[in-house]
């Protein structure tokens, strides 16, 4: 009982334990903030990567593969698969006014189909909430401008006759919102007057033959119907979405006539149209690896029945982003270890403060021994003291760290408003906002670590106190 009394008295009357508790608090908060930001970074990256590519991808190299619609249908029959959609992938350049920009990833998609695999519609930045135009997103999903006549299936801007009199499919384009950068205000928002909706944009891609040869570049004038903001800066900077059949045609992957390479004359018959990839979304509740295995087997079976489908391979979103995710995961581990090492400072500080308290209390220790306290009892006073300080520091540190993490973006806005400084740069990192994510199991582990560290810090001084010779202690001045 006397230990409880003394611990409570020492805690109330000394400044030193307050410093020790503050050290533990700061270290706990620091490790929680670092681990949470890095963990949030990893989680956001995982979510964004998955959102951007679907669960499973089927691919056969740059020249694509035929029978894609049939394969997608076959895959959709699988109980492990929710939806599958073919996409065309190309690369090229876009030109807006005088501004020419490399477009590393041009994707030909059917928005409605793609939306079954990815939350595509939700990544369209311009909507009713930030524009005074009705049905911006719904129209864009049909490659239409908001002011197009909905009855006009082709869209007024997009339905133009080309030279051979054939009506092309609706020609809209949706570039990533950072393809044309520097339009954001300080708060990270894009003003609606800066929207590119309605702007004319030239897209140039280089078609590739099935044999892998390059053909003359193809250029089309397209009209921006919306812009994409996935939240993953890398995607928003590099991805451009166009109608599936438009890109298929531009890339020379459509059902063209078969041409004799020697004579350049048609030899009769048409090529089977090709797609670059099929994106697959696993059925709800189905484990990614299970779905992958089912897709892999079904694809192999399908390819076995189609001799012109060679070189098909499948991979999951985790496979696709493994290097990046592993790098971030390792980085998180490394930073956590580094900050944990820094936190050893707290242990040393607790040990130093406690050692000083032991020195200061040497005579009192002698008195306590004289009135019957055991060595273990003396040690327990300091261990209990360390435990209380550890608990206090862990609780305060966890509260501080969690509050800090959940208000990081607000804090950044404040710093920006006061000093014009933003600690998080969307250009440098992948996301436009600092991830606010706390793993409570990790936080609890850190808090536990703080208590153990504090106890470890108190251990040596406690042992020293216990070993003090009571007679010498009583003589101590």
């Amino acid at each position: 009982m006397y230990k409880v009394l003394l611990i409570s008295k020492y805690l109330r009357r000394k400044l030193a334990p307050l410093f020790a508790a503050v050290a533990v608090t700061i270290c706990t908060a620091m490790v929680i903030i670092v681990i949470s930001v890095m963990g949030g970074f990893l989680q956001t990256m995982r979510d964004a990567a998955r959102r951007g590519t679907g669960d499973i991808t089927i691919e056969a190299g740059w020249t694509g593969f035929p029978h894609y619609a049939e394969l997608a249908q076959t895959l959709e029959q699988l109980p492990e698969v929710h939806a599958a959609t073919p996409v065309i992938v190309g690369a090229g350049m876009v030109k807006l006014g005088d501004h020419v920009q490399v477009a590393p990833v041009v994707l030909g998609v059917d928005p409605a189909d793609l939306n079954k695999v990815l939350p595509f519609q939700s990544t369209l930045y311009w909507g009713e909430e930030n524009m005074s135009l009705p049905q911006v997103r719904q129209r864009a999903m049909q490659w239409q401008l908001p002011w197009d006549d909905p009855a006009d299936a082709d869209g007024s801007q997009a339905s133009e006759a080309n030279g051979n009199g054939k009506t092309t499919p609706p020609r809209g384009i949706m570039p990533g919102i950072e393809v044309y950068p520097k339009r954001r205000d300080k708060g990270g928002q894009y003003a609606s007057w800066q929207s590119l909706i309605g702007a004319r944009m030239n897209l140039t891609v280089v078609p590739v033959t099935q044999a892998g040869g390059m053909l003359e570049p193809e250029t089309r004038e397209l009209v921006v119907v919306n812009e994409i903001k996935s939240g993953l800066y890398d995607v928003d900077k590099s991805h451009i979405f166009v109608p599936f059949d438009l890109l298929q045609e531009m890339m020379g992957m459509g059902a063209d006539e078969v041409i004799d390479p020697e004579t350049g004359e048609p030899v009769g018959g048409r090529h089977e149209p090709r797609a670059s990839r099929i994106l697959v979304r696993a059925a709800p509740g189905v484990d990614l690896e299970t779905a992958h295995e089912a897709v892999r087997k079904a694809t192999a079976r399908f390819a076995a029945n189609h001799p012109d489908m060679t070189g098909l391979y499948t991979y999951t979103w985790e496979d696709q982003h493994r290097d990046l995710l592993n790098a971030v995961r390792n980085e998180k581990g490394l930073i956590t270890v580094l900050f944990t090492i820094i936190s050893v400072v707290a242990v040393v500080m607790v040990a130093t403060i406690f050692y000083m308290i032991v020195l200061e209390k040497t005579r009192d220790i002698g008195v306590l021994r004289a009135i019957g306290a055991s060595r273990m009892g003396i040690a327990n006073i300091f261990l209990g003291y360390g435990l209380v300080i550890g608990l206090l520091g862990a609780i305060l540190g966890t509260a501080l760290g969690v509050t800090f993490v959940y208000n990081l973006n607000e804090l950044q806005d404040l710093l920006d408003a006061w000093f014009g400084w933003r600690m998080w740069s969307a250009e440098t990192y992948y996301f436009d906002e600092i991830p606010e994510h706390v793993d409570y199991a990790e936080a609890a582990l850190i808090a536990f670590g703080a208590v153990v560290s504090s106890l470890a810090g108190a251990l040596i001084p406690a042992a020293l106190a216990a070993q003090l010779d009571p007679v010498e202690s009583l003589r101590y001045e």
Partner: protein
């Protein structure tokens, strides 16, 4: 009518050495002492004669290099670690020259802390009321009824020593070990403390007191002198 006396504390051939640099100080050179129950023994000695060392050995606070200290016939140094702590807590009470009160605690808490030892957080509430009553009674008896909540730094030297005596008595020890109890007090206050010890002795308290002052030693029933490491007188 015959009076039977019991030896409560006995030392036999007690030796104690100290090392001071390269020097070996043989402080106690075979001390033999027998203290009867209810007796007040004063041990007189010059500064550095080893009288405090003897008191520490009697109280189990230090260990001899040779010899024994027997309490009620039992050699206290053959007791296990926790039992010797218990001996210090229950059977003897120390009073020091410099009071040695804990500065964070009030007068009442300084007295209570001795009673708290050996009692767990769960065991304490059961006895708290009665122990507190006894502590208040002891302090009131010593004229400190109004000073229960004062910290040591708010008390005079005499008051501090009375708190220290109350702390030593709270567990009703068989022997009170007083180390120069008036050494840090003015003459008047010293006399008051000695009167207090005399009252306790009258009530049957066994007291072993060490002092360098013959006038103080005269208060005791018996006075022994520690000379060259041995008790004489």
């Amino acid at each position: 009518m015959t009076t039977t006396t019991t030896t409560i504390l006995r030392t036999t051939s007690l030796h104690k050495h100290y090392r001071l640099g390269d020097q070996d100080l043989h402080v106690l050179r075979g001390v033999d002492l027998a203290v009867e129950a209810g007796e007040w023994v004063a041990i007189l000695g010059a500064s550095g004669s080893g009288k405090s060392t003897l008191l520490h050995l009697l109280g189990g606070l230090d260990r001899p290099d040779a010899g024994q200290v027997r309490f009620n016939g039992d050699n206290i140094f053959s007791l296990g670690g926790s039992r010797i702590d218990q001996y210090r807590n229950r059977y003897v009470g120390f009073v020091f020259q410099f009071y040695h009160l804990l500065p964070e605690l009030t007068a009442l808490e300084n007295v209570l802390i001795s009673a708290m030892m050996g009692r767990s957080v769960f065991g304490w509430p059961g006895v708290r009321k009665s122990v507190r009553q006894r502590a208040v009674q002891l302090l009131t008896q010593m004229g400190l009824g109004e000073r229960l909540r004062h910290r040591p730094n708010k008390l005079s030297g005499g008051e501090r020593q009375r708190v220290a005596i109350a702390r030593a008595l709270i567990n009703e020890p068989r022997v009170l070990l007083a180390d120069e109890p008036t050494g840090n007090l003015d003459a008047d206050t010293g006399r008051q403390i000695l009167a207090l010890l005399a009252d306790l002795h009258k009530a049957g308290q066994t007291i072993v007191m060490v002092t360098h002052d013959q006038r103080i030693a005269d208060y005791a029933d018996r006075c022994l002198t520690l000379e060259r490491g041995k008790l004489v007188g």
